[in-house]
Amino acid sequence: MLEGILLGLQTAFSVKMLLMVIGGCLIGTFIGMLPGLGPMSIIAIMIPVAISIGDPSAALILLAGVYYGAIFGGSTSSILINAPGVAGTVATSFDGYPMARQGKAGKALTIAAISSFAGGTIGAVLLMGFAPALASVALLFHSAEYFALMVVGLSAIAAFAGNGQVMKALAMTLLGLMLATVGESALYNEPRFTYGFLNLQSGIGFITLAMAMFALPEAFYLMLDPSRSKSQSEQDSEIKDLRITKEEAKKIAPVIGRQSVLGFLIGVLPGAGATIASFLGYAVERNLVSKEEQKEFGKGSIKGLSAPETANNAACSGSFVPLLTLGIPGSGTTAILLGALLALNVTPGPRLMVDQPEIFWSVIISMYIGNLVLLVLNLPLIPYIAKILTVPRSYLIPFIMFFTLMGVYIGQNNAAELLILIGLGTMATVFRFAGYPLAPLLIGFILGPMMENNFSRSVQLFDGVSFLWERPMTGALLALAVFLVILPTLKQSIAARRERRRFTAEGD
């Protein structure tokens, strides 16, 4: 193994490779900031460039750089304008955007950069150590377990529901699941819930829904309530506040430690990936903190920002495990990478580590370099990126709307999708008036298809729903999900009972 690492170091530290990493990171960051172009589409666009390089190590390093850059770029637009362009950065906007609203945009971006760096680097270390062993564990997960894992992911909604709001969060999750079933079904390709509209046949796009749930209502709110947009001078002074204090660093250090391991492990499971890792990371950290801190979640908690960012990046490293060791792509992005690998005449699988060690190890080494380059390049750029927020309101609002419309249009090339966006965005704003949380809707929408496919497959395999209790791991995961949903209600009733007892005791 040591030989392999040295070989990888030798390959990765040549001038050409370093240039590849730097170039890839820069391209990824800047294009990733445009909502509508996630890592998947950017990598797909870069594939012809990568293939024309010819050298598989160089091509992979370039693509890996683009991948990391794009994820960081996506976090930037989530934090600054509440427009997450990628499913994996949706959880980042929950606390990142409120921080930006409080004038701490610079700090939020710094925390995001540092968390991403730590998550990615620790993930790469874990990848080096455990890749072969983890690959065999991931194979133990069958469709029944995946279904249960999705249910656990959905029960993370309990994390978004305040007191007595569990039903509202549940309703939004169900609405997300319903929207996810619109279009052709995976089983027998039957068109479902299209109600005669041809444009619904291909379903509703993820970008469309993400923009309709986050960016549009936010832009509407900025107009509804002019006091939300601060004066320019006020913001200018606060943006310089980039540094993280010692106490803050102490606060997020354990979060980063936990979430890099958890994120990595979830990333290893094919199909789970960065999105679930970020949602679960957010939910786990919210449940771990004290009650005082819990109130800050969703209002600009640095822990709530750091957790999904770390988990998301660790999961990206984790998703390379099944790709490189089994040849199974765990996510859309790694599937595209697999395509690129095959085009470069590299066949990932158990033999890769033995037959072409220089490729395997140079990719892993390039992960470290990529993460480091990203940190070094982006930290000095943050004050300039954060300046976006000082743009006056009369420019900012039309530009946000233009970005959402354009992001949806270039992804789908369909004007009807824009009308769907406007309709859903207006509906989301009205729901937000009454205090319905919008994030669960998007989570339900993202996890819905995966959940249904795994559910259907398990039902077919077991000829019924007996897998729910016959497989111990499925049962355990489902029990965990139920526990997560009733936990807030349980906590509340215990607190109420304690209060009452104290009251009666004082009365005596």
Binding site: L37, L224, P398, M401, V430
Partner: protein, 160 residues
């Protein structure tokens, strides 16, 4: 009727319509060979709609219990909002969506950005025109020329 109650009712109706389609209409399109399968395309939607109706009813119940004060508080907050610009923007976005293809990306985008900013109180027309033109052309160049995603720039009578 308060907003809370209205939305709970809306959700319940959506879930019921969804459930009606899943239970009574979808299975008619099922190919005959699939009838023996243990899972149909309608299985999962049926489960969701059942839970949905339950959640909808309990939301409606809790909205009925809501005190008058609470709904008053929400209403007074909603009354303080400025709705006119939002409505104008919704109409503008719909027009943008419909005009994008016939009129081309650059034309419609410059118009959208400029009119939007003017509605929100921007009065430096020359600066505005320059910024929105540079921005639109820049984005168009990036998307069309660098990334290779086709975006029709001009109306049909110019591009021919």
């Amino acid at each position: 009727m308060t907003l809370e109650r209205g939305l709970a009712l809306l959700f319940l109706m959506l879930a019921a319509l969804y459930g009606y389609t899943a239970f009574f209409e979808m299975d008619a399109n099922l190919p005959p060979f699939a009838k023996n399968s243990s899972v149909w395309p309608s299985t999962f939607p049926k489960v969701i709609s059942a839970i949905g109706v339950f959640v909808g009813i309990s939301l409606l119940m809790s909205s009925l219990k809501q005190s008058a004060e609470e709904s008053q508080l929400l209403m007074s907050e909603l009354k303080g909002y400025q709705y006119t610009p939002v409505l104008i923007f919704i109409v503008m976005m719909a027009v943008y969506a419909l005009m994008l293809r016939p009129a081309g990306f650059i034309t419609t985008s410059i118009a959208f950005l400029s009119i939007g900013a003017i509605i929100l109180g921007e009065r430096r027309y020359a600066t505005l025109a320059i910024i929105s033109t540079i921005f639109t052309v820049g984005i168009w160049y990036l998307v069309q020329e660098v990334l290779g995603i086709f975006l029709k720039p001009w109306p049909a009578f110019i591009a021919g």
